[in-house]
Amino acid sequence: MTTDSTQSSVREETIETWGGRLKLRVKIAGQGDPLLYLHSATGLVWDPFLSRLAEQYTVYAPEFPGTTPGDPDAVHVIDHLSDMVLVYEEMTRRLSLDRPVVVGHDFGGMIAAELAAHFPELPSALVLLAPLGLWREDAPVVSLAAASATELPGLLFHDHTGEVAQAALAFPEDPEAALEAAVGMVWSLGSTAKYIWPIPDRGLRSRLHRVAAPTLVVWGREDRVAAVSYADDFARLVKDSAIALLDDCGHLPQIEQFKQTTEKVEDFLR
């Protein structure tokens, strides 16, 4: 739940897509070339990683349909992942994003990879943080939506008892805000699960050869949601790719290893 104190500079814009039937709320901050950030299955939180990116880029972070407060039924508009990819492509045009850097984490990493595979010319560069989208018999991906509330911290973090994890996992003190945060997280998991349940494999493996953008695959060595062995699969299937593996790191590299992650990402994008 870590939010960044500089987020007051974040503005919101609502973009109409899909013939006016689907509205996407996009959080925007920063200056510079465009960077599209696609959030994880648990929903969009403007965290220090996004603020850091906003120092060099104009960051556009759309909320996945269904995850925007006040518009939960948006999840029922689109049935198929392929249509959702078209929605995201439409959104980049409505926002006039010219060859943005595309960064995606977890579920958002899968959407980012799909976008880059469907529209190879769209991203100038691709950063995938522990993306979903592939399946290995020897390392089944763990579903966050099926996990119990008590299991989640241990799944998400290498060290969920550490200071960083505890701060990230803390819910707001105000009971109303805490309730809304919990409800929002449950609905985000449910909304994104529509496209990854029961197995987060919608055929991305067969499409990854189409990705043309230079790609960085970032993975925590101790990821207990999607094992680090998936990094090799992504790197092998995407032509122009590099891997950055992080020590003492679980499924949320940009939170648990903020410094290492930003260094690797900034080096790659430089």
Binding site: R21, V75, H76, L179, V186, G190, W197
Partner: protein
Amino acid sequence: MKVTLFEQAPYRFLSPDFQEHHQSVCSTPYSLTNPSGVYSSLRDHIDELMMGARAGFDGVAFNEHAQSAYDLTPNPNIIASAVAYATETEGLDVAIFPMGRSLGKSREPVRVAEEYAMVDVISGGRLVAGFPVGLGYDASINNGVPPIEVRGRFEENLELILRTWHDREPFAWNGRYNQFPQVNIWPRPLQDQPPVWITGIGNPATMRTTLERGFGFNYFGFAGAKLTGKRIFDRFWGLSDELGLPRNPYRLGFLQTIAVSETDERAEKEYGTHVEYMYRKGLGSIPMEKLALPGGINIHGVRALMQDPADFGMYSQMRTATFGQLAEAGTVIAGSPDTVSEQLLEYCRTYGIGNLHAMLGFGSMPKELAEKNINLFATEVLPRLRTMWQDKQLDHHWWPKKLGGTPLPVAEGRTPATTRKAVAS
């Protein structure tokens, strides 16, 4: 008042410490069973349903649970079919009431329509068609349906099934979840309209649909009806009043676990361990995350349940609950025929219940004890319940015509957002 005998088919021979090591669904190791235990658990289940049919119950009822140690019935229509034929050969005029096929789970709704039609034909028109949305784990883990699609599938599948029974001409179906070039099932039910019942756990949206469409509504008192009953039934009749419908008790069904013996003391002594077995190793051993998968309950429902989880009754304490605690919460009504009758009469009168589903075989109960429970209930309790509501002289629109009911055609439904096909409007 209609009274059915309801039973699940639990595996009856789990070890005393089962619940300390295992969940009762999905991951339960099948190595905990043995073939003779599996055979007798299912065989005795059917034998006991037949005892009920012979003992004078108005119907026999059962339900669907896959990959579950507490109910070995992945398809209740196989039980329904066996009991339909056996009762037909013995001339027993009882309703066959699967409660029934989970439509949130089903990927083959036409097959469900066909199976129910067959059961209706085999039974000579005695089917009561139950359609639960289905439990989260069963629809989404056992059958792979994304939780957020479960309700939409339920709604679409129900419409499709009702049409297969109703339409005289073959039709094409282009739904959100199903496409068929031509639907024209053989056989169709003998009844013009088999009574339709929906089981709910308290979701007002489900209740509203049953009222608007003219379906019956079943509530299962597993969470402890002394804790949840008033909330649920007041909500139901409140919605009924809002819609301007008459409070006909026959549209409401209530399932209660019941244990009858000669005295209150003997009831606890004879049935206590089996009550504990049922709740500790059954519902109590299904973890919350398997019942409430994200997306399965809409966001308003999630908020309502987080703010006020009282609809779950004593569910969260069940895994270690004692007989005393379970009885206190009302998950079981146990005692002498007088004790049991008094409590049931008061419940049914207070909450306007016109159909009681008496769960009389449960947990590790051996067949002989189930037989005692069934027969004592049938001879000592059932006669006192049966006359309830007679003075109102109301029609029972949710019961087969052959068995004295007057089923009505179901009303047209609205198309909810979850079912509408994603096309340009």
